[in-house]
């Protein structure tokens, strides 16, 4: 009895189930007429998700609609799942930009390091969780797809409390 385990007295003879069943039904009927509902009518209704939710990625763009990425190579380096493929190159103006930027969302573990390490605030993990595709290849998001994403992005920290105090 050291840690307070409650031992019920076992019934020594047969008991009726009727009373227990009735009390159970009473609870069920109470919920039928109770206006308080806990069920969310997903997908019409959705729970709000945390501003720090880390879901599939989104690449932010500058005013001209080009991705902000400068192909510095930090995200493939920090990525613990090794899911980012980046080949740097030069655009017409001689600026450094990613020739190939692909994230394998299947491989991604959504740690958010890529967003944290990005010096240009280009790659972000998104507040988004509904992913489905018809093929595995569909989960390799290329630059075009990443920039076309519209979902809100993760706030890695609370702007009012950046140090998490």
């Amino acid at each position: 009895m050291a840690i307070g385990v409650k031992v019920l007295d076992r019934p020594t003879e047969q008991v009726s189930y009727v009373r227990a069943m009735l009390s159970g039904m009473a609870l069920t009927f109470k919920h039928m007429i109770d206006p308080h509902k806990v069920t969310v009518q997903y997908p019409e209704e959705k729970w709000p998700i945390s501003p720090r939710w880390r879901g599939t990625h989104r690449m932010l763009t500058d005013e001209t609609g080009k991705s902000k990425c400068v192909a510095c190579g930090l995200c493939p380096q920090i990525c613990p799942a090794n899911c980012i493929k980046l080949v740097p190159g030069e655009d017409e103006e001689g600026n450094r930009y990613p020739l190939i930027y692909e994230i394998d969302e299947f491989r991604c573990i959504f740690c958010g390091y890529c967003q944290e390490v990005c010096p240009e605030e280009a790659i972000h993990v998104g507040r988004h969780y509904e992913n489905s595709e018809y093929s595995r290849a569909g989960f390799v998001y290329d630059l075009e797809r990443l920039t076309a994403q519209t979902h809100p992005v993760c706030e890695m920290w609370d702007p009012d409390d950046p140090k998490g105090e």
């Binding site: 510095c72 190579g73 930090l74 380096q77 740097p88 030069e90 240009e120």
Partner: protein, 525 residues
Amino acid sequence: MGETQMVTLTIEGRKVSVASGTSILEAAKAAGVLVPHYCYHPGLPVAGVCRMCLVEVEKAPKLAPACASAVAEGQVVHVHSEKALEARKGVLEFLLINHPLDCPICDQAGECELQDYTYREGRSEGRLQEPKRFNPMEDFGGDVLYVTNRCILCTRCVRFMDDVAGEPVLNVSERGDRAIIGKFEGADLTHAWAGNVIDLCPVGALVSKDFLNKARAWELDRTPSICPNCTQGCNSIVETRDNFVVRTRARPNDEVNKYYMCDHGRLNYRWMNEQNRLEAPLVRQGERLVAADWSTAVDHAAKLLNGKRAVVLASPMLSNESLWMLSKLIRKTGGLGLFTVETGPEAPLLGVPDLALRAERAANVRGAEMFGFERSSSPLDGIQSGDVLVIADVGGMPLEIDPSALARASASIVIGTTLPEDARSATVVLPVTNVTEEEGTFTNVHGRVQRYLQARAAPGMARPAWWALGDLLEAMGDAAGYFLASEVFTALAGASPEFAGMSYESLGLKGARLQGSRQPAETTG
């Protein structure tokens, strides 16, 4: 030479003895302590302009620049004392006043000394409110691009061009905070060795146009190698990214190339990534060459050579090991070994004795000569009817095959990286690796035997030439072939008196001179 006087001093609590006249910085290096520095480079005259190497010397009134202060008996030097760290922190803060924080797009990031030392010793935040200086980029000509904003004016490049290359093209223009590295009017950085300023630049101010935006420093796999582009045999580092060579750089070796490498060697690496490579052994069946496995192809080649004289046309880019195996094949068949070599203009580096981009543009001409191959401008004239022509081609060999010479030969065997258009009529084709895909040694123009290591994976079924030749000799009745390049080299060293006593261990990564070969300095007198 007189006795050098030794001086004993203490650096960071470690006692070290160095020759008198050595700088504190070099003495610290000997003691295993790195003194941060920008303007100092062991291959260049001391300038003492960056003030980054300030160290505290006990009983001295001020901090001393380690690069420009000679050691003294009984000196006690503190590199990481509070005073020295405080001074260097200040130097770094001044350097960062105008240095842009564009590391994400800077090619030097990851191998930048400003980045490293700031991370180690600098302030974590800048205090400067004023805008940074801006100057446009300038194309210096050659392979060099000058990103003015990133320059910290260490003047290594200026001193290299003045004192080592002997072509003073660069200078420090303007004054004070407007100072930049300038180029003399009308002059360009087109010196054959000018590319070294890119390696010398401690920051990303001088960058290679060839390497620009291609890869990040930390993604590269680095392999010690030997530049195969001329007979000088400069020690190099082959840097690969995803099995592709993206850059080659000089590897310091005081006996050969000091810290330098010429632009020809530096930029002539694309052939190493060639995509039109042979990937499987081919054996002729009627009109067509059909892919076969190694043993079939080798047996077929052995049958062709049986009782015939082999005329071997060897590329002087083959390793000592492969050339030695070829010479065994020649001896066995009573044949003939020939080579041709590409040539170009010679370009010496004045500041280093006996260092030049040599006229013969292949790594192992000396080795080929040593193993009995004859230089020939028309190598195929010696073919008599009934001979078997063996073409061992891994590059560096101008190859024009006269169809009539080929018709005289009873058969031809190609042992090569690619199948030359002229040699399509070959009977057996054996795919072999190039210099970046195998381990081996070259003998340079001064008779220095130097090792190179494997930097990338070989395509398909390609094997080192010595391996293929070992199997071929075995199929012709010789002893079994070798499994490792080091075994071939040991056997070679046992058989050739010049190589006596050498092994891969004794060569290390700096190489060793052949028995009886002269000091490089003596050859030119």
